[in-house]
């Protein structure tokens, strides 16, 4: 029927229609994601206002700002490498595209490692709700400065693990997507005319980045 390039799916009339559909599709999906994180963030913000003093103490005393800042920097760099990857894909520069995609995957894994370190430290301090939560932490040097109500701090940490865990899950999915995209780029599937998957997964990655830009101040910096 269609005498078009093999990258054109049968349901589309031409490449422009296919591109419009895939990019609009990702934006619609991101709208869904926005509501997904939005629901959880709303719940967090409500409790933040209910128990503002206790949440402030939990954040001030137990969030690791250096590691969180490092992760923010790593993630912003990965957004840059993705954007450059899309740029190179648009100009058909396959080698540079693959390089940028690999850099993105590397930065994403670095982020996840830092996050895992943070989780481990919180586990060591017995701050993981449902696993070993005790407050004030038994090994704390100056427990007398910790005056917040333990259930409220536990609530903070419930949301902390829920939100960052959900974000980390999106990162892991992103690594999987980029691994697949890198493989396809290596096989030479993308051209200057057809690089929709690169652009669309780039949109997804920027969104995941943006979620962290909201999580970082809400959880780490809001004292």
């Amino acid at each position: 029927m269609h005498q078009a390039s093999p990258s054109l799916a049968h349901q589309f009339e031409d490449a422009a229609q296919q591109k419009e559909a895939s990019i609009l599709g990702m934006w619609a999906f991101l709208a869904t994601e926005l509501m997904f994180f939005g629901g959880a963030l709303t719940a967090f913000v409500i409790y933040r206002s209910f128990y503002s003093v206790d949440f402030a103490e939990a954040s001030r005393e137990h969030m690791n700002i250096p590691l969180g800042t490092a992760n923010t920097a790593i993630l912003l760099c990965s957004s840059l490498t993705v954007a450059m990857g899309v740029h190179f894909a648009k100009h058909g520069e396959r080698r540079k595209l693959i390089l940028m995609l690999l850099a993105t995957i590397g930065l994403a894994i670095a982020f996840l490692c830092v996050k895992a370190t943070e989780y481990y430290l919180e586990y060591r301090h017995e701050l993981v709700p449902g696993v070993n939560f005790r407050y004030p932490p038994p090994h704390d040097a100056q427990p007398e400065r910790l005056t917040a109500s333990p259930p409220h701090v536990e609530l903070f940490f419930s949301f902390y693990f829920f939100l960052t865990g959900l974000h980390a899950l999106h990162m892991i999915i992103g690594v999987g997507i980029f691994a697949f995209i890198t493989f396809r780029a290596w096989r030479g599937r993308f051209t200057a005319e057809y690089y929709n998957p690169v652009e669309v997964s780039g949109l997804y990655w920027h969104f995941v980045d943006l979620v962290w830009i909201f999580l970082f101040p809400l959880l780490y910096l809001l004292h």
Binding site: Q11, F12, A21, A28, F36, T42, I46, F50
Partner: protein, 552 residues
């Protein structure tokens, strides 16, 4: 699956059905029409499972004593009835079956924008359904379909986690279907098919899909938090640990009220198609009907608080939500008045789809008007948690959504299968359903107004007469639902060939042979005018020449 073969009189022609007969060709199909059939089979099964739970509830309520089932079992019955009917029948009903089948045809497209995603959404739906049914079989769940905390998260000792996991998973199928429809409507319209020429069913599906996209993730996060709370013993919604149970209700109803519009908006779209076709008249107030679908979707997001008038919500919050709930009546009434005006001086014929459509208009109006009673703060406090509300939402859900679903099946059945069903049987069962429905649910308005609370398996003896009437109605209703199952199945082998356009309807879906070929159209049609040109002497869309023997 080799259900339809052509009668010898007809020239054999390749259609989406006879192109391949293997099980594999169905389970790995990317064709929106085949995926629609997969959905149709799945949700029919869910409908009858939900119906069995309903039957047991009605049997228990025949007598004031709790003699058929225990109180625990009764709790599980009404919970599972709600979960199955809402999440696994009503929400996917019209969109996933009729929408999937007809939408690309109406747009003059070869398929949805993302066929793989479409198949994926069916598998996700089946996984979600299996999870929830497993929960039902291995012990059931007794929280009510609303999963209110802290009962669901702390106290209930039934299979809550598995059930909400099923609901969570199914939500993604709904999101993906909605996404697919929105993108398809935006990007896949045939040449000349401008927004103002779209069939009203497409407008309704568009509004529905937007709700699916923006509402479903919120209930997903709400039930995910319930699951996390239950598994890790967190305090997110547990007041003993500083959590707020009403917050769950906010998150839950933020989706679940708009979900009502996920069920009713596609139904309204179907009615717009059917009423204009069987009145042989252009639809009255096209732009208003289209815009009112979007208005319902928009206002629908702002009314969730009317479920919480008695749940510690502030009186000012209650007043605002009450006012906004009244606002929904405006676009709903616009639709009803426009359908009525379309009927006025039309050449009305009472084929089965039209009988269902007529039933819809009447029953939806009653359901909508009693909705206004409930939106009024003072009255709501009186009838809250009584059978009045049960009757109200069954008038919308069963009298509205299911009636329209039946109208849709009968209207598009010839297109889907290429066969005509037995018309007189279809008309009789439409009448039986209408009568059975009213006998089942009208007494429940009275029961509720007299003060019978919902969710109890015993009740004072003075309510028995009305309850017996309701149970009698339910058995009539059950007969009404079984008859179509029989004659529709029968028609697959023995029905007369339908031809491309048995109703002489406008709309691109009638311009291609029945059943349509895999690619939908031999040539992508070009649209030159608005829809519903029934007032012109001849339908502007001539049936395709490729199929001989089109019946008169």
């Amino acid at each position: 699956m080799s259900t339809v073969s052509y009668q010898p009189a007809l020239e054999p022609r390749e259609s989406y059905i006879n192109i391949a007969y293997t099980v594999k060709s169905w389970l790995f199909t990317l064709d929106h029409k085949r995926i629609a059939i997969l959905y149709l089979i799945a949700i029919t099964v869910f409908f009858f499972i939900g119906g069995v739970f309903a039957t047991l509830i009605r049997l228990e309520l025949m007598t004031p004593e709790g003699d058929l089932v225990s109180d625990d079992t009764y709790n599980k019955l009404f919970t599972l009835h709600g979960v199955v009917m809402i999440f696994f029948f009503l929400i996917p009903s019209i969109p996933a079956t009729m929408g999937n089948f007809v939408l690309p045809l109406m747009l003059g497209a070869r398929d949805l924008a993302f066929p793989r995603l479409n198949l994926l959404s069916w598998y996700i739906f089946m996984i979600g359904g299996t999870l929830s049914l497993t929960a039902a079989i291995t012990g059931g769940v007794d929280t009510g379909w609303t999963f209110y905390t802290p009962y669901s998260s702390v106290f209930s000792n039934s299979r809550v986690v598995l059930t909400v996991l099923g609901v969570f998973v199914t939500g993604f199928s709904s999101i993906l279907t909605g996404l697919n429809f929105v993108i398809t409507i935006h990007t896949m319209r045939a040449p000349g098919l401008t927004w103002s020429r779209l069939p009203l069913f497409v407008w309704a599906m568009y509004a529905t899909s937007v709700i699916m996209l923006l509402g479903t993730p919120v209930v997903a996060i709400a039930v995910a938090l319930v699951g996390a709370e239950r598994i890790f013993h967190l305090g997110i919604f547990n007041p003993a640990l500083g959590g707020d149970p009403v917050l769950f209700q906010h998150l839950f109803w933020f989706y679940s009220h708009p979900a009502v519009y996920i069920m009713i908006l596609p139904a309204m779209g179907v009615i717009s198609e059917v009423v204009t076709c069987f009145s042989r008249k252009n639809i009255f107030g096209y732009a208003f009907i289209a815009a009112s679908s979007l208005a319902i979707a928009f206002i629908g997001f702002l009314v969730w608080g009317h479920h919480m008038f008695v749940s510690t919500q502030s009186i000012y919050g209650g007043m605002i939500f009450s006012f906004l709930s009244y606002m929904v009546a405006i676009p709903s009434a616009i639709k009803v008045f426009n359908w009525t005006a379309t009927l006025y001086k039309g050449s009305i014929s009472f084929h089965a789809p039209m009988l269902y459509a007529g039933g819809f208009i009447g029953l939806f109006t009653m359901g909508g008007l009693t909705g206004l009673f409930l939106a009024a703060l003072g009255v709501d406090v009186h009838v809250h948690h009584t059978y009045f509300i049960v009757a109200h939402f069954h008038y919308i859900m069963v009298g509205g959504a299911v009636m329209a679903y039946m109208a849709a099946i009968h209207y598009w059945w010839p297109k889907i299968t290429g066969r005509l069903y037995t018309e007189w049987l279809a008309r009789i069962s439409a009448v039986i359903i209408f009568l059975g429905f009213n006998l089942t649910f009208f007494p429940q308005f009275l029961l509720g107004y007299l003060g019978m609370p919902r969710r109890y398996h015993v009740y004072p003896p003075e309510f028995q007469v009305l309850n017996v009437m309701s149970t009698a109605g339910a058995s009539i209703l059950a007969v009404g639902y079984v008859i179509p199952l029989i004659y529709l199945t029968w028609s697959l082998w023995h029905g007369k060939a339908a031809g491309p356009n048995p109703w002489k309807a406008t709309g691109l879906e009638w311009q291609t042979p029945s059943p349509p070929p895999t690619n939908n159209f031999e040539e992508i049609p070009v649209v030159t005018g608005p829809p519903y040109q029934y007032h012109l002497e001849e339908v502007p869309f001539a049936p395709s020449k490729s199929e001989p023997g089109a019946p008169v």
